[in-house]
């Protein structure tokens, strides 16, 4: 089922002449994980804001082209601490804030909040005051708050930026399990080394345009390595002067090396 379609979308932020995103077309279906990769300023965050329906509605600016969204979207911003409601004194109430605003019956709210806390492995934090949390704990609370609203389209902008390596791995597993339930996930991350096991499709954004798209093996191609966007292992292979195709992951490299 098609969840999101962008057709020839160009977007300008207010008072800017150069578009942040230019002629981008993209279809995302349920059960799919799409990863946006690019240098800072390439347009990944903008694309997520458009997919969420926040640009231009909240950001201002101008959009050309068409956006079709067949489902409810939830977004985790790269600055998750700005997403706190500021109205909850416990983590449980914070996570319940979204569902409560959707007007769900009490038992539905409880079910979704408890499930979201479990999925983010933060049930032990349920009674803590959000202001006492560490950065990484807070990031997981915000992700839980979005998932508790049960969106069909999950948009994640640098979802592991504040997480320890263990926590980051847990989020990547969670992304796969969301896709397994039929949700569509679009994410932007600078942790390209995590993507081979997570993403179905990679979209390389460069100065607002789609430069390439394809399977994760794209992350081992010469042009992406050259741009500093390939996986670490592929980049190393290339830097060592060993021939292409470069291995994508440590496991690939070890097989090749034998």
């Amino acid at each position: 089922m098609r969840i999101l379609a962008l057709e020839e979308v160009t977007f300008w932020y207010p008072a800017t002449a150069t578009p942040a995103l230019e002629s981008v077309s993209l279809e995302v279906g349920s059960g799919e994980v799409v990863a946006l990769v690019g240098r800072g300023g390439a347009g990944a965050s903008t694309l997520l804001l458009i997919a969420a329906g926040l640009a231009p509605r909240v950001t201002g600016g101008r959009l050309a082209g068409s956006v079709t969204r067949g489902a409810r979207a939830g977004i985790v911003l790269p600055t998750p601490w700005t997403q706190l409601s500021g109205m909850a004194f416990t983590v449980w109430d914070e996570v319940a804030f979204g569902p409560a605003n959707l007007g769900w019956p009490e038992h539905e709210i409880t079910r979704h909040v408890d499930r979201a806390l479990e999925r983010l492995e933060i049930t032990p934090l349920a009674s803590r005051d959000p202001v006492t949390l560490s950065g990484g704990e807070l990031q997981r609370v915000i992700v839980a708050g979005i998932l508790a609203m049960d969106p069909d389209l999950v948009l994640l902008d640098e979802p592991t930026a504040e997480l320890d390596p263990e926590g980051a791995r847990a989020v990547w597993r969670l992304v796969r399990s969301l896709a397994g339930e039929g949700k569509a996930v679009i994410l932007a991350t600078s942790d390209v080394d995590a993507l081979p096991g997570v993403a179905d499709r990679i979209i390389w954004l460069d100065q607002g345009s789609v430069r390439a798209l394809g399977e994760p093996s794209l992350l081992a191609e010469d042009a992406m390595c050259e741009a500093g966007l390939g996986t670490t292992v592929a980049g190393l292979w290339r830097a060592a002067g060993l021939g292409a195709p470069y291995p994508l992951t440590v496991v690939d490299a070890a097989q090749r090396w034998r």
């Binding site: 965050s45 790269p78 990484g136 600078s190 670490t232 292979w237 060592a240 440590v250």
Partner: protein
């Protein structure tokens, strides 16, 4: 206690109400040394940063910045010696232009205008931010705001630089800029303490790793040794970064953890194999 290091924790404990954040933590960082502070979310790392900057003071023990005991000293006094970037660096920016923001520290310390200008220019240079100097900090991307906050800390020319997740959300080029800037600053004699989950950045840029586990010091040793030991990292919530994992998986001699060293070793070993 005899103070040799630029920064020293001596038996430090700290609690937020009844939540203990740090227990009996002791370590020293020498001038010019580049140290990573690692551990799980909630292990107490950011509390260490707040104690160094004087935003918090220890319940027990002493935090030394050079020969200053931080007890009774306010952050603005410690700013003569300590520069810092918080985890959510956005909250550190407030001026109308990036240049004004970066120059705030040296101005607040009372330096004359030419000195303020020199420090501001050097800090903007170090992070390649001159092109954005006239922009409002909030018109910049989160990544550039992060670099801007670091420039503000560098402009203080601190003897102790503490950074909380300086590379979070930065692309490879941004991470490289941070690495170059902080390495250069340490080479000029500053002690560097970096809280980070980015073990790849730590491997490239830093020398020694201190790991906190539930508020206690769990380990303090050279990073290249620590990062290649998956068994030791696992109980601390850490995972070897890709270069270290590759070194181990391919059994590269010397187990390099930095990209350049690993690429050189890989090329050498592969060359040897094709000749034999």
């Amino acid at each position: 206690m005899a103070v040799n290091g630029a920064l020293a924790f001596d038996g430090v404990a700290f609690s937020y109400g009844n939540v203990a954040a740090l227990r009996d933590v002791s370590f020293e960082v020498a001038a010019g040394e580049r140290v990573a502070l690692l551990g799980r979310n909630g292990a107490g790392k950011s509390s260490v940063v707040r104690l160094v900057t004087g935003v918090l003071h220890p319940d027990e023990g002493t935090v030394w910045v050079g020969d200053w005991d931080t007890a009774g000293r306010a952050p603005e006094e410690l700013a003569w010696r300590v520069g810092s970037v918080f985890q959510h660096a956005d909250q550190q920016l407030f001026a109308r232009t990036l240049r004004e923001d970066v120059s705030f520290g040296p101005r607040a310390l009372g330096f004359p205008a030419p000195e303020v200008r020199r420090r501001t220019d050097e800090a903007l240079d170090a992070l390649d931010l001159h092109a954005h100097a006239a922009q409002h900090p909030y018109d910049l991307s989160p990544a550039l705001r992060k670099l801007a906050a670091l420039a503000g800390a560098l402009a203080l020319e601190p003897t102790v630089l503490v950074l909380d997740e300086p590379t979070a959300g930065l692309d490879r080029a941004g991470r490289g800029r941070v690495a170059d800037a902080v390495r250069e600053h340490a080479d000029r004699g500053a002690a560097l303490l970096v809280v980070t989950h980015d073990l790849a950045f730590a491997a490239e840029t830093l020398q020694r790793g201190i790991v906190l586990d539930r508020g206690r010091l769990a380990c303090d040793e050279p990073l290249d040794r620590l990062l290649t030991s998956a068994e030791r990292l696992k109980p601390l919530g850490l995972v070897p970064p890709p270069v270290a994992a590759l070194s181990v998986a391919l059994d590269l001699p010397g187990r390099p953890v930095r990209e350049r060293d690993a690429a050189d070793t890989l090329a050498r070993v592969a060359g040897g194999r094709s000749r034999s």
